[in-house]
Amino acid sequence: MTMVNLTLNGKQVSADVPDNTLLVTFIRETMGLTGTHVGCDTSQCGACVVHVDGESLKSCTMLAAGAEGASVTTIEGIADGDSLHPMQQAFHENHGLQCGFCTPGMVMSAIELVQDNPNPSETEIREGLEGNICRCTGYHNIVKSVQAGAKMMGG
């Protein structure tokens, strides 16, 4: 067992978990934040993307212990109370989601994409989201959402 201490959506949390606990399992099961999803077992789908110290990361690729002391942000942690994060708002306005399963990972990846590149072209968005699979939308409206989100985030 390992004692893991980290900041989760701005709150200090700690728990004693088996050494091999993945960060995604820690978030979903130990902490009960089920907005972060698991869509695969080969780190290919991006449903589990969270931010660790501001960088987007597939949380199925990291041990919880590896995030010791880090600041982890999940989809539950980006809205400001009742008002959605601009990227969440953009996905809503542009119908960037259907079943919603890929959405948390997609939004978290999109936010980082725009943080790194405030004014991304369509091609840059498509390439930037290459690690996130969506089976529902055909990506057209996701790309539109990210473009709109980038504008709303001040790009």
Partner: protein, 794 residues
């Protein structure tokens, strides 16, 4: 349709009511649910395609830490638990019935595909269950697999009661008439196509959590289902033999289905059965590898096509011989998909006087194959739209003009095809013309030349499709072998304060029903969309329902809602007439208000609702208090969406990579309730079709191992594989439902694969390439180019 011209009502692109919970991480999918004391089950699956089980030794595993129970097929048999049933069977050519083998929920004596469920290991934690599974020893006697579909009939017999590995041998149409047309044809066009096998890959893996309540001897099952009532029926009546009232099935948020979550699978049945045996909740969540192995796969046909043309290039006849891979067991709609949902679509949008088809459904030692987005119609459309292009090329006509001259003319509706269906309405030229214009068809040769100057081959491909949605009516379906009804139910409950709850038997797993259905109700009742709540997915809350598949939710479920709302309005009118001391016939309802014609007497909808629940001044002699109405709607016919999709590609001859550079489509879905949501459905459907045509392929090797069992090997469409899509509509309103709607969920996946492959062939045609199989991978395309060049050089 002008956005927002009708605020929140029918025709407005209302932003989705359901979005917020998904965007904030508060969606509630099955895997997100935990029950106190829950156990975890891990399934040991067959590693062989075909084998007899000689012995299972589980003692060491049973003694492992945390293990609570280990169940095998013998335990299932001892408790008399049944297996999944086939929901629709057909009669064979010779009048005999479909051969239906047993399908135990845990293998009993034999395994028939890699991934078949053999042992359920149940423990306190998932990790303990998985660790204990390592200690279970299974002795197999390995048998020869049956993998090659074309020769499945001569392989070793897989099921005792399926001789020649043939589940069914179905036919439709007039064989002699088709033969006569082919014999007297000026041109005969021949084509053999393979509809590649796909794995649905909804992003949410399947999951189940079952809980037993000893106090009233009842079960609750949370499961990833597109149709919770059917799951209740099958598990309750056919598997556990318990009264349906003792089983509540809840399908909460479901992360995509595309058909794969229609069927009842062994895992959810095992969880339910075990929850009583162990008196504790039992949970299972598939990992993606299990989804690849054991979700029902899709497509997998070989189609031999012969089309007859007269001297004017009009189609005079068509014969199609199909071999369909059904896999190791009969999944719920595995029989109907390649037969009833396929054969009647072979007329497409064309006037074809004589059609005959034979479909043989074969058993193989591969995962069960069932309906996947489009279900039978994509297979029909693919072969037809491919042969249309082949024919056009053979007779030297432009493919668009060849289609146009063979379209069923718009004055021919209702049109009776020679393959059972009667199309109520359609008009196929306007969407063709619009799509041609959207992609600038006329300018294509210039673009081809420009691409050639950059060393690229550019091609354009069309597909004019028709499909059939909202499978119906029940009586006809029953005569054709359906074992379920095909109606839908809706209850509209108005609260005393005028808010509205709609209980629908359809299920939304991404389609946006919370919004679309609310728009219908808001529009008809003249209330704010925010005061309409859509409730679905819980067998205890909904009267009954068939769930969502076959693009039926709006055309059937929406029509039921509209009927229930109409009943509410009728009752409200009587209440209003009473309150305003007028005759019923003088009361008019519009914009949420009841008025007495010719007066300024009016009552708001809220006032009527209140009067219905506080009936102090009320027509008690005529009406019961309350304002709640239920309607069941059984459609009179299928609906027939149609349209044209056009793909434009560029091929790099040095790599064989096909780049999809443009897409234009124009669909006729009848009236649109929410154009934004419809467009999203079209996009998603096209993306899945592009996946089929260019990227995806489920491949078993000759030993029956699934080679493409992860995202490393099964190529899913990603953002950078696709362009933006140009989408537009024409409208011919469906004639037999009140909303005039047809359904839009599958059209994209149906129309797109042949458009793409036709485009690829068009790009390579100057080299002499005439055929390309799906998926058109870089390797295949590169080889085709090289072979053609080598041949030309010789």
């Amino acid at each position: 349709m002008p956005e927002g011209s009708i605020k929140d009502g029918i025709g407005a692109s209302v932003r989705r009511k359901e979005d917020k919970r998904f965007l904030t991480g508060s969606g509630r999918y099955t895997a997100d649910i935990t029950r106190p004391g829950q156990l975890h089950v891990h399934f040991i699956r067959s590693v062989h395609a075909h084998a007899n089980i000689k012995a299972i030794r589980k003692d060491a595993a049973a003694a492992a830490e945390g293990v609570v129970a280990i169940f095998t097929g013998e335990d299932v048999a001892a408790d008399g638990i049944g297996g999944p049933i086939c929901g629709w069977v057909v009669t064979n050519r010779d009048g005999s019935p479909t051969n239906e083998p047993p399908h135990p929920i845990l293998a009993n004596g034999a395994v028939r595909y890699v991934g078949d469920h053999v042992v359920a290991v149940i423990a306190e934690t998932l990790e303990q269950a998985m660790n204990a599974a390592e200690l279970v020893e299974i002795d197999y006697e390995v048998l020869a697999p049956v993998v090659d579909l074309a020769h499945a009939g001569s392989g070793p017999q897989i099921h005792e009661n399926v001789p020649g590995n043939m589940y069914f041998d179905f036919e439709l149409g007039d064989e002699a008439a088709a033969a006569a047309a082919l014999d007297s044809a000026a041109t005969v066009v021949e084509l053999e196509v393979r509809n590649n096998r796909l794995i649905p890959n909804a992003m949410e893996p399947r999951a189940a959590l079952a809980e037993y309540d000893p106090i009233d001897d009842s079960y609750t099952l949370f499961t990833t289902s597109q149709n919770p009532h059917l799951t209740r029926l099958v598990i309750g009546a056919f598997m556990l033999s318990i009264p349906e009232s003792k089983l509540r099935v809840v399908a909460p948020d479901v992360g995509g289905g595309f058909g794969s979550k229609i069927y009842v699978y062994p895992e959810e049945a095992v969880c339910t059965w075990a929850s009583k045996k162990l008196q504790r909740p039992v949970k299972w969540t598939a990992d993606r590898s299990e989804s690849f192995l054991a979700d029902a796969h899709g497509r997998d046909h070989i189609n031999k096509v012969r089309m007859a043309l007269d001297k004017d290039n009009r189609i005079t006849g068509l014969r199609v011989d199909t071999v369909a891979n059904i896999g190791s067991y009969l999944s719920a709609f595995s029989v109907v998909t390649p037969t009833i949902l396929h054969a009647p679509l072979l007329s497409g949008c064309y006037r074809i006087p004589a059609i005959y088809t034979n479909v043989k459904g074969m058993a193989t030692t591969t995962a069960p194959v069932d309906a996947y987005r489009g279900a039978g119609r994509p297979e029909a459309t693919y072969l037809l739209e491919r042969v249309m292009d082949t024919a056009a090329r053979q007779v030297g006509m432009d493919p668009a003009e060849f289609r146009r001259m063979n379209f069923i003319p718009k004055d021919a509706f209702p049109y009776q095809t020679p393959v059972a269906l009667q199309y109520d309405i359609g008009d196929y030229e306007p969407p063709l013309d619009k799509a041609l214009e959207m992609i600038d068809y006329k300018g294509f040769e210039a673009r081809r030349a420009e691409a050639a100057s950059r060393g690229k081959y550019r091609g354009i491909g069309l597909s004019s499709y028709i499909e059939a949605c909202g499978i119906a009516p029940s009586a006809v379906a029953g005569a054709l072998g359906a074992r379920v009804g095909l109606y839908e139910s809706a209850t509209v409950r108005v609260d005393p304060t005028g808010t509205v709850n709609v209980f629908t038997g359809t299920h939304s797993h991404g389609q946006g029903h919370d919004t679309t259905f609310a728009q219908i109700v808001a529009d008809k009742l003249g209330v704010d969309i925010g005061s309409v709540e859509i409730i679905h997915g819980d067998s205890d809350r909904i009267p009954f329902g068939m769930g969502s598949y076959g693009s039926r939710s709006l055309a059937v479920g929406g029509a039921a809602i509209a009927k229930a709302v109409d009943k509410v309005i009728e009752k409200s009118k009587i209440i209003a007439a009473h309150l305003m001391e007028a005759a019923d016939a003088d009361v008019v309802f519009a914009d949420g208000k009841f008025t007495v014609a010719g007066t300024d007497n009016e009552k708001g909808f809220g006032e009527i609702a209140l009067a219905a629940y506080v009936p102090h001044n009320y027509p008690h002699d005529r009406l019961e208090p309350g304002l709640e109405e239920t309607a069941f709607y059984d459609p009179l016919n299928f609906t027939y969406p149609s349209g044209t999709h056009i793909a434009e590609v560029e091929i790099d001859p040095s790599t064989g990579v096909v780049e999809l550079v443009d897409w234009a489509c124009c669909d006729d879905f009848g009236n649109l309730i929410n154009p934004m949501i419809v467009e999203g459905q079209v996009h998603g459907g096209i993306a899945q079709g592009v996946g089929q045509a260019l990227l995806e392929n489920a491949h078993y090797d000759e030993t029956g191992q699934l080679i493409t069992a992860s995202y490393m090997d099964y190529c899913m469409p990603r953002a950078d594989d696709l362009p933006n899509f140009k989408v537009d509509y024409t409208v011919t309103a469906c004639t037999h439902n009140d909303l005039g709607v047809k359904g839009c969920g599958e059209a994209g996946a149906i129309a797109s694969p042949p458009a793409l492959i036709n485009a690829v062939i068009d790009a390579l045609a100057p080299l002499g390439v005439t055929d390309m199989s799906m998926p058109a991978t870089p390797e295949k395309v590169w080889r085709a180019i090289n072979d053609a060049q080598t041949e030309a050089a010789e």
